[in-house]
């Protein structure tokens, strides 16, 4: 998160949002983002009930999702019947079981399956701390779910494919423009 240390050299800085944009985001209210993110969580869990089965005992863990280039963090608790999600200005004072940190576009790419988590970890584009088993369970549950961005956003069935394709195109262009790790398309690698 920005308030931790934007110059932190312990993380690779590939794919970071421009500093000015990130600083401007700090003036935006967090509630709309929290509302939208919670709806995505609810939709995803209802569309992919197998995720909770894969998470098993780790469904009740507190995951700190840390977009290191943004002025906010997310606390996620998948929990079987009552999922929770909160967007906070800083994760510093939050308790968590596992922390997953990477630039926002990289985290979204992981969610969408265009990155391999281990490869990002090897190159330091992704950092994890805390309960490693919980992180693996979450990663594997997401991997198997094949989350469709349009459907997760609650788009009508006819519109979802168009929204998904548009979002993926925009995300890919942004990643390219910001020097994020290369998406894996089966022909090339994300080598730094």
């Amino acid at each position: 998160m920005l308030d931790v240390d934007p110059q932190n050299e312990t993380l690779a800085r590939r794919g970071f949002l421009p500093g000015r944009l990130a600083r401007a985001m700090a003036f935006l209210p967090l509630y709309p983002l929290e509302f939208a993110a919670f709806r995505v969580l609810e939709n995803t869990l209802s569309q992919h009930p197998g995720m909770l089965s894969r998470l098993g005992e780790h469904a009740s863990k507190r995951f700190a999702i840390d977009p290191v280039d943004c002025p906010f963090g997310i606390i996620l608790e998948p929990r079987e019947s009552t999922p929770r999600l909160s967007v906070v200005p800083s994760l510093e004072t939050c308790s968590w079981d596992a922390r997953i940190a990477a630039p926002l576009l990289v985290l979204l790419g992981l969610l969408d399956g265009c990155y391999d988590g281990d490869a990002l970890f090897f190159t330091r584009d992704l950092t994890i701390e805390g309960d490693t088993a919980a992180v693996l369970a979450l990663r594997n549950a997401i991997e198997d779910a094949e989350i469709d961005p349009g459907e997760a956003l609650g788009m009508p069935k006819l519109a979802a494919p168009f929204v998904t394709a548009s979002l993926r195109t925009i995300a890919t262009q942004l990643r390219t423009a910001l020097g994020a790790p290369e998406e894996l398309n089966g022909k090339t690698s994300g080598a730094p």
């Binding site: 050299e9 090897f122 701390e129 490693t132 991997e143 198997d144 398309n185 690698s189 080598a191």
Partner: protein, 337 residues
């Protein structure tokens, strides 16, 4: 870069790909796998990681999906049964057979014997976990249990593989890409010393529940079972948290005592492996994501197709997927000898 495939007129090698989840199975099949290997969500397979693997229904659906597209499914039941608990492993064999698995990948002598007697028509492969690396050892499994294929440990040169392949009556499968175990698998106890659990019995090397990463100072510290096994300076590539790839102080020097974090990549020596009599190539990584899977399977599919038609072999850049961002042909070429 390209590599000519001249001189490789042997039978095309099968491409065997990992599937940690049903989604990964579909990805591998669509990317061109001849077969996928997978396991159940329990201690019967050597990739017993949180959130990974198949339940009984998922396996049946996965086999049906693969068969409908001309691909095979091999089920890895390749750990060693605990005393008094053999029923867990036998049940897994029964479920895999009922799911119409094309082959079972086994390591435990008792389980192999039971599977052979209970299901005489079921194709059985010998897992790398059995560590059979000599002609007499492989012949014993073939002649006693009708093993049809052996997965060789990653400790042999291409010449040694050739010598084995020409003297045994079964197919030879070798690792082609991915995480590298330099140990004779099935006999490695390093993880047990630090965590009390091992890939041989519990299905996990360096179980995630014993792994902890922490940002300390200007670097990342990796711990296994409470032992610090490496400190990675900022910006440096990292590897898996296994003891064999840790850095330790030895004779007053801090170094990788066993091996450096690196991954196997054999695309450049596929003609030599084919000439040595290898029947199947295994991509490692049931714990990896679909993006890794699609990239590696397509790369090897293209290479094998080029090899089959005597075209130049493509050599795609895969180092971004490898541990420590480095790759090697490992023991296949023992340059340290």
């Amino acid at each position: 870069m390209t590599l000519t495939s001249s001189g490789s007129s042997q039978k095309t090698m099968e491409l065997i790909c990992p599937a940690g989840t049903p989604s990964a199975l579909r990805t591998a099949v669509e990317a061109g796998a001849d077969a996928v290997y997978c396991g159940f969500r329990n201690e019967t397979n050597a990739r017993n990681f949180p959130g990974l693997n198949f339940d009984d229904a998922e396996l049946r659906e996965g086999v049906a999906y693969a068969h409908a597209r001309g691909a095979k499914v091999l089920v890895a039941l390749n750990t060693f049964a605990r005393a008094g608990c053999t029923k867990v492993w036998q049940t897994a064999v029964e479920q895999a057979v009922a799911a119409k698995a094309d082959a079972l990948i086994l390591a435990d002598l008792g389980l192999i014997d039971w599977a052979r007697k209970t299901f005489p028509d079921q194709r059985l492969h010998l897992s790398v976990q059995a560590a059979a690396a000599t002609v007499p050892a492989i012949r014993f499994y073939v002649e006693t249990f009708g093993i049809r294929r052996v997965v060789l440990p990653r400790v042999l040169t291409v010449d040694e593989i050739s010598a084995i392949a020409s003297n045994v009556a079964c197919e030879i499968e070798v690792f082609a890409f991915g995480g590298l175990c330099v140990m004779a698998e099935g006999r490695c106890l390093l993880s047990s010393y630090a965590t009390g659990e091992s890939p041989n019995m519990n299905g996990v090397c360096s179980p995630a529940s014993h792994v902890a990463y922490a940002q300390e100072g200007n670097g990342l510290v990796a711990r296994l079972g409470g032992f610090t096994i490496d400190r990675y300076p900022s910006g440096k590539p990292v590897g898996y948290p296994t003891l064999c790839k840790g850095r330790f102080s030895c004779n007053a020097k801090v170094m990788h005592v066993f091996e450096e974090p690196t991954s196997l990549n054999t695309i450049g020596i596929l003609p030599a492996l084919q000439k040595a009599g290898v029947a199947a190539l295994k991509i490692e990584g049931r714990q990896r994501g679909k993006a890794y899977l699609a990239a590696t399977v397509r790369a090897f599919r293209e290479a094998l197709d080029a090899l089959a038609t005597e075209r130049q072999l493509p050599l795609p850049e895969l180092s971004g997927l490898t541990e420590g961002s480095r790759q090697t042909v490992g023991s296949y070429r023992k340059t340290w000898r």
